[in-house]
């Protein structure tokens, strides 16, 4: 697609096609992190279907013109999960797939944590808790400019330990940012351990509800369900919406699934081979 008035992404992928894309991109994620020798596989794999639903069905944007003023915004607040984001951005046409091999390398546009030097990235990241505030700023700008774009912000569940998340939640409801959708990647693991061991988040739905948000829950890997949830999130908007997406950290690679050890480390050669075989 091109130009400034296109109504959508132009993508009409079926769910099976989206699932095939997910399989391709899981390989890209593992390859990217293995080539770099570092990175965050767990959260990149848990967030993947959420991003695929957004970039290949839900959001309108123009990869030829990343700054298109009418675009829907996606803000990756959990910026360490950048390999999943980059895999999706390159597949969506923002930059060539070959560039994934430059992740975390000198003179690359593909930084360790997402930074707007990468085409398609809106916000600098790497310090948790900031993305919802930034997304609210984008959402308020739409109101000032009388534009109808949506703003999506993806947060980690461990990230919800940050006080700023709740400052932003309170203020988004206060300022009636109905074009703002937060998604919590509820994979139940943060840097060190399971979220339940580090800091109790439940009842997470009621926390958001009591801050004035409309709460939806979904299986974060079921593309049918995700698409339906995003569709509902766009309709009957009187409050900001949060989607708690129940996911599996490390999804798709058996030994990474539900394993806190793969929050932030690259697979070794043997693990890489095994992962790629599983994803073949």
């Amino acid at each position: 697609m091109s130009g400034g008035s296109a109504p959508g992404t132009g993508h009409t992928y079926s769910v099976p096609e989206l699932q095939a894309i997910a399989k391709d991109l899981r390989r890209d994620i593992i390859q990217t992190i293995y080539t770099a020798g570092s990175g965050h596989p767990g959260g990149s794999l848990s967030e993947l279907e959420i991003l695929i639903a957004l970039y290949f069905r839900v959001m309108r944007y123009d990869p030829e013109n990343p700054g298109w003023p009418d675009r829907d915004r996606f803000i990756l607040s959990k910026g360490h999960a950048s390999p999943g984001f980059y895999a999706v951005l390159s597949r969506a046409g923002f930059f060539p797939r070959e560039e994934l091999a430059t992740f975390r390398q000198l003179n690359s546009r593909i930084q360790g944590h997402a930074h707007p030097m990468t085409p398609g990235v809106e916000m600098n990241s790497g310090s948790l808790g900031m993305g919802l505030s930034f997304a609210l700023g984008c959402a308020l700008a739409a109101r000032l400019d009388k534009k109808d774009y949506m703003v999506y912000a993806l947060l980690g569940d461990g990230e919800c330990d940050e006080g700023e998340v709740w400052e932003a939640a309170m203020s988004a409801a206060h300022h009636k940012a109905t074009n703002l959708v937060a998604i919590v990647d509820r994979n139940r693991i943060q840097n060190d351990r399971f979220t339940d061991d580090v800091m109790t988040l439940d009842p997470l739905d009621r926390k958001w509800q009591n801050f004035g948000w409309r709460v939806m829950q979904t299986d974060g890997h079921n593309l049918d369900e995700l698409l339906g949830t995003f569709e509902r999130a766009r309709t009957r908007r009187t409050r900001p919406t949060v989607i708690i997406a129940h996911t599996v950290k490390g999804k798709g690679v058996s030994f990474m699934e539900n394993n806190p050890g793969f929050h932030g480390r690259a697979p070794n050669a043997e693990e890489f081979q095994k992962a790629m075989e599983e994803l073949a």
């Binding site: 505030s133 930034f134 997304a135 984008c138 308020l140 000032l144 700023e164 400052e167």
Partner: protein
């Protein structure tokens, strides 16, 4: 001997200047963290409610939302007290604003010990040190209301992150109305070749008084107003070192990381001469602003003494 100068409030003129810019800067929006009456952004809030957003005392979010607005083409003026606007959201200023270099304006009032009675927690004596450590920021510490008006208008016109430091107390007006502020250029306020007093903020007025005292003792002190701390006017500072052979810095800020550190860095790196610093040595206490200025040694007498010491150290 000490000049009588009109007193005027930099924070009040800030609020009034915002109103003046409303039509010429249609993308300008104002963000507050409660405290708007103290910061004088309530003037804007009441006149342009649709271009004003309050976030309460929640400064991480305040800066984060401002960054999102800036990334969407707005020109956010974000204001609160300096202790809250710089200290609490420092990481948001670093990651969301400075690193991508967004067009974001942080204007903080109640800086320094001029905040007075509220005591040490309310005295922003570290703000210049913190904010100067962020590579993308332009940092301005106006000497009076006349300079504040032009600094605020300059920040709105120029791209990139700006920090402007204002006071709670009314401060002496040292400029005529026809003064022309030039971003990044130190202002020569008084010519002299025996010593240079390099001052910023309220200490410009104090330093002009010190120069009068020095003249009575037969010494001609040059006085530079360094309103722009970053990028600093290295040329003017190096010329001062070369031509006067001794330098005194004067600031209402902690001695570490503020104007004195900047001056010492520039002088030491280019034309080493004696440098004396008049600055705060640590935390202060609750009292009237003018009492604290005396107790903390931010007086014309002390600046004069520092100048004499710098002169005595000349080789």
């Amino acid at each position: 001997m000490v000049a009588q100068r009109k007193m005027a409030s930099t924070r009040q003129i800030y609020g009034e200047t915002l109103l003046e810019m409303a039509d010429s800067f249609p993308d300008l929006v104002v963000l507050g963290g409660d405290l708007n009456v103290s910061v004088f952004t309530h003037l804007w809030r009441d006149k342009y409610p649709e271009r004003f957003f309050d976030f309460g005392p929640a400064e991480q979010n305040l800066v984060g939302v401002g960054a999102g607005l800036a990334a969407s083409g707005k020109v956010p003026f974000v204001s609160t007290f300096s202790v809250f606007g710089v200290g609490r959201p420092f990481d948001q200023l670093r990651v969301l604003v400075s690193q991508p270099g967004l067009n974001f304006k942080l204007v903080c009032t109640h800086a320094g010990i001029l905040t007075g009675e509220d005591g040490m927690s309310a005295h922003g004596i570290e703000d210049l040190s913190l904010i100067c450590s962020l590579p993308s920021f332009t940092v301005i510490s106006p000497a009076d209301t006349v300079e504040t008006v032009q600094a605020v208008k300059t920040a709105a016109s120029e791209d990139g992150p700006f920090y402007i430091r204002l006071s709670r107390a009314a401060t002496p007006v040292v400029h005529e109305d026809d003064y022309q502020f030039e971003l990044g250029k130190a202002e020569l306020m008084r010519e002299g070749n025996d010593v240079t007093i390099i001052a910023t903020g309220v200490m410009v007025s104090v330093s002009l008084d010190a120069a009068e005292m020095l003249e009575a003792q037969g010494l001609q002190a040059r006085v530079l107003n360094v309103h722009t701390l970053k990028p600093v006017d290295e040329e003017a500072i190096v010329a001062a070192a070369r031509e006067t052979g001794a330098v005194v810095s004067a600031e209402e800020h902690y001695f570490h990381g503020g104007l004195g550190s900047i001056v010492a860095q520039v002088v030491g790196g280019n034309h080493p001469v004696p440098v004396e610093m008049v600055a705060l040595q640590g935390y202060s206490e609750s009292a009237k602003a003018e009492e604290l200025m005396v107790k903390c040694g931010l007086t014309a007498e002390k600046v004069k003494d520092a100048a004499l010491k710098a002169v005595s150290r000349k080789q």
